[in-house]
């Protein structure tokens, strides 16, 4: 039951109506917890019990941490380590164990041992990467005294299993989400309009851009050796746009649904295509994950308050973890390493750039200089997108071989008419909106101060989506993680 399916919206309407009929916040939380678990059970009934057990373990661990926090810091430390290890352990077992087995087996084979280890039949619970990160950050925050342990099991379940963000994030922090559940939520006109507009914009990004691009990128990346360098380059550019519009589209919808329920969900994107360097990009792209990695991996390792070399090492570890979070495939590790190197390169380049800007004061104000930096960042991201989408390392090698060879010609353009008409038009609309958001604030399209303009834009967006969007999509890129 994906967020863009009719089934989800029928489910949501029922949740929404009952939710606002209840005036008491405890009952509202209970309703959220029950419906979230029903949602989880509907999608994956077999793993519902496991999900509940995991929530219960972390709930108990946090209470234990709180109980011992005053007199037994060593026990608190052990409980914290246990929580973190439990979270990582669950992730490793369900997401990476088969990968480790097969890699170990091929390693043994490569050095001359004949092994037939096979693989385990493991089905990863839905949204495992998201809820384990929520739980790890929760237990760490409780142990570090940032928040108090949640005593209300229902409220805690409503936080962890909150259905709009369950499958694909954003990864909400307990520090910002739990306090919102402490008072009754009322149906406010501002929440209703803001939430609806976010959902509509999310639909637009998903149906009119991401799903228009998908057939093209699938055709190229699933058959890379048959395509020339320019087709792979074009597919890499398009895949970056697809990744963004698919995931940001989902995030907008999840945030919008949260808003309709009177809850503020963490933002996940902030105009990433206007980033000027690696660090800037990760402050705009999948923010709930990048800030999580910053707070729970990078900073505990020493962050940048250490030697330069050590801080570069910290960056690399953080980004490789970021890549690995996406899944058990070397391509994700390469994706992470690529971004890590980019962030390090951006830091190294910072000093000479600042010197240059100091020498030529006007450089700071030149739009072309900023545009150049944005363009370079975009190209680096496109290469990263290729690593991310490639099915295997050999595909990455194929791509680079073709790019470095003379195999450049006309790109593959068959069966792409809707992509290069509606998809391109929609992309221009999105870039215009993001440009306005970045430099002029929200006062355009559906947020115009003129009521007539606003209503016309909303109606036209609905018409445009139904008339030109790819409406039969049944997947989101980030749901698989």
């Amino acid at each position: 039951m994906l967020i863009n399916s009719i089934g989800f919206w029928i489910f949501f309407v029922v949740v929404f109506l009952v939710y606002y009929l209840i005036r008491n916040h405890r009952w509202q939380n209970a309703w959220l917890a029950i419906t979230s678990l029903v949602f989880y059970g509907y999608v994956s009934l077999k793993l519902l019990a496991l999900f509940v057990v995991i929530i219960a373990i972390f709930y108990g661990l946090a209470l234990g941490v709180e109980k011992k926090s005053k007199n037994s810091p060593s026990i608190v430390k052990w409980l914290k380590v246990t929580g973190v290890c439990a979270g990582i352990g669950v992730l490793i077992y369900f997401k990476y164990l088969n990968f480790f087995i097969s890699e170990f087996s091929s390693l043994l084979t490569s050095i001359g041992f004949t092994v037939n280890t096979g693989t385990l039949n493991i089905i990863a619970p839905l949204g495992i990467s998201y809820f384990t990160f929520k739980l790890i950050s929760y237990i760490v925050d409780v142990a570090n005294g940032k928040i108090q342990a949640e005593h209300d099991a229902v409220k805690f379940t409503a936080y962890v299993a909150f259905f709009p963000t369950l499958m694909s994030g954003p990864i909400d922090r307990a520090t910002t989400f739990l306090p919102q559940l402490e008072k009754a939520r009322k149906l406010l006109p501002s929440n209703l309009s803001d939430g609806s507009l976010r959902i509509l914009w999310g639909f637009f990004m998903k149906a009119c851009i991401a799903d228009r691009i998908a057939p093209y990128t699938d055709a190229i990346f699933n058959n890379m050796s048959h395509h020339n360098a320019s087709s792979i380059a074009l597919a890499s550019v398009l895949y970056l746009i697809q990744m963004y519009t698919d995931f940001a589209g989902y995030s907008h919808m999840a945030i919008g649904v949260g808003r309709l329920l009177g809850l503020t969900v963490t933002e996940n994107f902030k105009q990433p295509f206007f980033a000027v360097n690696g660090g800037d990009f990760w402050r705009r792209w999948h923010m709930s994950l990048s800030f999580w990695l910053r707070d729970y991996i990078y900073i505990p390792m020493g962050g940048s308050r250490c030697s330069k070399l050590r801080s570069y090492f910290n960056v690399m570890v953080t980004f490789i973890a970021c890549g690995a979070w996406h899944g058990a495939n070397w391509t994700y590790i390469i994706f992470g390493a690529h971004h890590g190197l980019w962030v390090i390169a951006s830091r190294i380049m910072k000093v000479p750039r600042e010197k240059l800007e100091a020498k030529y004061e006007s450089l700071k104000h030149y739009t072309w200089f900023k545009s150049l930096r944005i363009a370079i960042s975009f190209v680096v991201c496109c290469i990263g997108a290729m690593y991310f989408r490639a099915n295997s390392i050999s595909d990455i090698i194929v791509a680079w071989r073709k790019w470095l060879s003379s195999d450049w010609g006309m790109p593959y353009l068959q069966a792409t008419v809707p992509l290069f008409t509606f998809g391109f038009l929609s992309f221009l609309v999105m870039i215009y909106k993001e440009h306005q958001d970045e430099y002029h604030g929200k006062a355009h399209f559906m947020y115009s101060s003129s009521r007539a303009m606003r209503l016309a834009c909303i109606a036209m967006t609905i018409v445009f989506i139904i008339l030109t969007g790819a409406l039969e999509s049944n997947s989101f890129i980030y749901v698989q993680f």
Binding site: S193, L455, A456, A459, T468, L471
Partner: protein, 300 residues
């Protein structure tokens, strides 16, 4: 809250107005689609315009394989190729029923492949021609009988029905008009004739029902039905066995070139890709089809 409700009503009114206008303009444009040889324009011809003595039905394997002009030259019968890429038995049935509203073909050549009777193409077939819902009776009846309630609900909207239509409609109107017989030649040459075997095969109830209905319609209207499996390097043995049994049970003539050992085996020069013949291969197969058509029409 009252203001929001009024806003919602205004937005709804604009959307409904756009829906009505789009439906009116869309229908006018759809029903005047020129004959230009694109897939969608050919679907319009097959569903609303063309008449022929020999009707060829099927997927891309039909579209790129059977040459109507050769059939006409050899038999004197008019022929039309209504094959559509990635479409199953349900589409073939809709086209046959649409044809019968205009004329009665003497022979129907049905090119079958595994995907046509599984659920692989079940939704494609309707999705690609859903803009004709309400305009084409067989399609409308099919959706009412087999379509999900979600699809039936969504098709109440003209905007949804016309989803993605403007792109091909604009393209069709920019191309020069020409007489088309539905055949689209391919001129590629496959380098290697390695056979790819597929093991998965599970029939879809609706597609099989549509296949049965094609057979019954042909029997009821005294139309000769020839079922073909064109040569391919992508072999689904289970499908071929199933077809053999099914056609035997229904007393239908089946010509299975999927198991061909003489004409096409190891002859890569006849293939455009592993699943489609090129123009050279298409001419050879069409000549064989002509022999079968001649046998059938003489015996009538």
């Amino acid at each position: 809250m009252k203001k929001i409700l009024i806003n919602i009503l205004i937005i709804l009114a604009i959307v409904v107005a756009c829906d009505i206008i789009a439906g009116f303009v869309g229908n006018k444009m759809l029903m005047s689609t020129p004959e230009v040889g694109t897939l969608q324009a050919d679907a319009y011809q097959a569903m609303f315009k063309k008449k022929a003595d020999v009707l060829i039905l099927g997927s891309s394997r039909a579209r790129h394989t059977y040459i109507p002009s050769l059939i006409t030259d050899s038999t004197g019968l008019t022929a039309y190729n209504a094959g559509y890429d990635g479409h199953g038995m349900n589409y073939a049935l809709i086209v046959l029923q649409s044809f019968l509203e205009r004329c009665k073909p003497q022979v129907v050549v049905l090119e079958a492949c595994a995907a046509m009777v599984t659920d692989e193409w079940l939704n494609n077939s309707i999705d690609d021609v859903k803009h004709f819902y309400g305009l084409n009776k067989p399609l409308t009846n099919y959706v009412k009988e087999y379509g999900t309630w979600q699809l039936q609900a969504k098709l109440h909207s003209n905007l949804y029905r016309l989803n993605s239509t403007p792109t091909w409609m604009v393209k069709a109107r920019t191309l020069p008009s020409r007489d088309c017989d539905g055949y689209e030649p391919q001129y590629g040459n496959l380098a290697d004739t390695a056979i790819i075997n597929f093991n998965d095969f599970k029939t879809n109830e609706i597609q099989v029902k549509c296949f049965e209905e094609i057979i019954e319609t042909c029997n009821r209207n005294n139309i000769e039905l020839l079922v073909y499996i064109a040569p391919s390097l992508e072999v689904t043995a289970k499908f071929q066995e199933w077809m053999k049994e099914f056609c035997h049970e229904k007393d239908v003539i089946l010509k299975d070139y999927g198991c061909d050992k003489f004409l096409f085996s190891n002859r890569h020069q006849y293939f455009n890709d592993s699943d489609h013949l090129n123009d050279l291969g298409a001419r050879i197969l069409t000549n064989n089809t002509i022999k079968d058509i001649k046998c059938l029409t003489i015996s009538r």
